[in-house]
């Protein structure tokens, strides 16, 4: 873990050498992120709800998902670009070192411009929370924390699966985007608003619904069932097979680099 943090520190230092370029990239990331919630803002000027969810409720959901995604994009960048690691043969170097493989992969590259998304996601979260009248209780605080943590976990597990896939195909496929970017786009809205088939897919195959729908219902007081509040825990269970698959992949790995 210490090595991982050192890796991150080094990346930051090297980035700050090019200040102007860092600042402009940071700015452009802010605008990119703005375009994400711009969709929601624009549509809510024409509609007043989506299947009973109001603007701030959707923004809350959006913020949680984007937080989880941005966290992984910032700090698990190497996993996101895993195909590059394999193609360049960098992964061989990692395997040679006597440290945890996964942490090294994650720390291989850190993208600090994506931190701007993380900050914005938190700002949107706070704005949504201020505008929603929530009767706070300890259980609800726990629910919110679980939602945020499980958002990180769900994207981390998808990244892991996508990376394991690279062991077989070497080249990362565009199909991966379907689950990360496409799934993320849908999960910005409470999954329950979509058609049944999609809801099942995003509950049982990729557990977005346990991040942004069931706990959200509890959090907003739409249900009193405490099981809903604890459902994000299932996402952590989902992480286990993803880890196993990844490690199995590393065992079978045959180098592609020169």
């Amino acid at each position: 873990m210490k090595v991982y943090l050192k890796h991150l520190g080094l990346h930051l230092k090297s980035l700050l050498e090019y200040k102007a370029s860092f600042i402009t990239s940071f700015l452009s990331q802010i605008i990119v992120f703005f375009s994400y919630y711009f969709i929601i803002l624009a549509l809510f000027t024409k509609f007043d709800n989506i299947k009973g969810f109001t603007l701030y409720e959707v923004l809350l959901c959006f913020a949680v998902i984007q937080f989880g995604f941005a966290f992984n994009e910032s700090f698990a960048r190497g996993l996101d670009h895993f195909d590059e690691l394999i193609i360049k043969g960098e992964f061989d170097r990692i395997l040679l070192r006597p440290k945890n493989i996964l942490l090294q992969v994650c720390g291989y590259e850190a993208d600090y411009t994506k931190v701007s998304r993380l900050i914005q996601a938190l700002i949107v979260l706070v704005i949504a929370l201020i505008n929603l009248k929530i009767e706070w209780s300890i259980m609800k605080v726990i629910t919110l924390l679980l939602m945020l943590l499980s958002a990180i976990a769900v994207f981390f597990s998808i990244f892991l699966l996508a990376a394991s896939y690279c062991f077989i195909t070497v080249q990362g496929l565009e199909v991966r985007n379907v689950f990360t970017a496409g799934g993320k786009h849908m999960a910005q809205y409470p999954i329950g608003v979509f058609k049944k088939g999609f809801v099942y897919f995003f509950t049982f195959i990729i557990p977005y619904a346990f991040v942004n729908y069931y706990p959200l219902l509890y959090f907003l007081g739409k249900t009193n069932n405490p099981l809903y509040a604890l459902s994000p825990l299932l996402v952590f269970v989902y992480l286990i097979p993803c880890f196993l698959i990844f490690y199995k992949g590393t065992k079978r790995y045959a180098s592609a680099g020169s």
Binding site: S21, I31, F38, A42, V178, A181
Partner: protein, 267 residues
């Protein structure tokens, strides 16, 4: 002119080679189309009084966007032109006895067309056989279709004129992520790729009219679905042509200027 056309042809043929990538691209675009449509359907089912577009119009708009994405997308990530600037290989380009701006212009357009030409038509035919409500509709009328074709052609030229500016800007900033990144993200919003322009708040619609981006794709697509009348569409076509002239002149002059003081990076 013949030299430029051969640039166009070269690029066109090279990119036709990537067929597997093309099919994977189509699959992804179909999926994304569905995702966007599902969100809109959920909104439309929740009901609202005043809607700027009907649902079938909107769905057709989204599908056109997906099918013709390469012609309208102002996002440009092809590293070749950027790395020319960054690695210093631009020196080789300079050695060629042709105008560099137009060389780049034809390269970009050839590459983009190759991505669309073979796949757009089967893609759209496939979309016509989808079950309701996901099916793509036919053009509003024959006149609308003709106007769509002309504005789409102008839109493609406009797209190229905008993208041709990116490497020129990179010659000054030496990093395609900063300033160019900002332009790309603004254009993403204002070209209607994120949300169709009619869904914008009023003041943003006004701002959008002063920028070239909505004339790349929003205009032709809305003509196709009949959201814009023929007369208004013709005015749009004229505005497109004006923008193309402005941007090409701008790009040409900027290129000449920056070539005068070009510093070749790398050895």
């Amino acid at each position: 002119m013949r030299a430029y056309l051969s640039y166009f042809k070269l690029r066109f043929i090279t990119h036709l080679q990537y067929r597997a990538a093309a099919w994977a691209g189509i699959a992804t675009q179909v999926f994304f189309g569905f995702v966007y449509i599902m969100v809109y359907i959920a909104f439309y089912e929740s009901g609202s009084a005043s809607l700027p577009m009907q649902l079938p119009q909107l769905i057709t708009y989204i599908w056109l966007n997906q099918a013709l994405l390469s012609l309208v997308n102002l996002f440009y990530k092809d590293q070749e032109l950027f790395s020319l600037v960054k690695t210093g290989n631009i020196a080789y380009e300079l050695a060629r006895p042709k105008n560099m701006y137009f060389m780049w212009y034809f390269k970009i357009i050839g590459e983009r067309l190759s991505k669309v030409v073979l796949r757009a038509i089967p893609f759209i035919i496939f979309l016509m056989f989808l079950p309701e409500p996901y099916r793509i509709s036919l053009p509003a009328s024959f006149e609308h279709f003709l106007l769509f074709l002309s504005t789409m052609t102008a839109g493609t030229l406009l797209m190229t004129s905008i993208i041709a500016l990116y490497p020129i800007i990179t010659m000054h900033t030496l990093n395609e992520k900063g300033v160019v990144g900002i332009i790309i993200s603004i254009s993403d919003i204002f070209s209607g790729l994120v949300v169709p322009i009619p869904f914008f708040p009023k003041f943003l619609q006004t701002i959008s009219k002063c920028m070239p981006f909505q004339y790349v794709s929003d205009l032709p697509f809305r003509i196709y679905v009949g959201n814009i009348g023929l007369q208004e569409g013709l005015i749009g076509l004229i505005i497109q042509i004006i923008w193309i002239i402005i941007l090409i002149t701008l790009g040409y002059i900027l290129m000449q200027k920056s070539l005068k003081k070009v510093v070749v990076q790398g050895g």
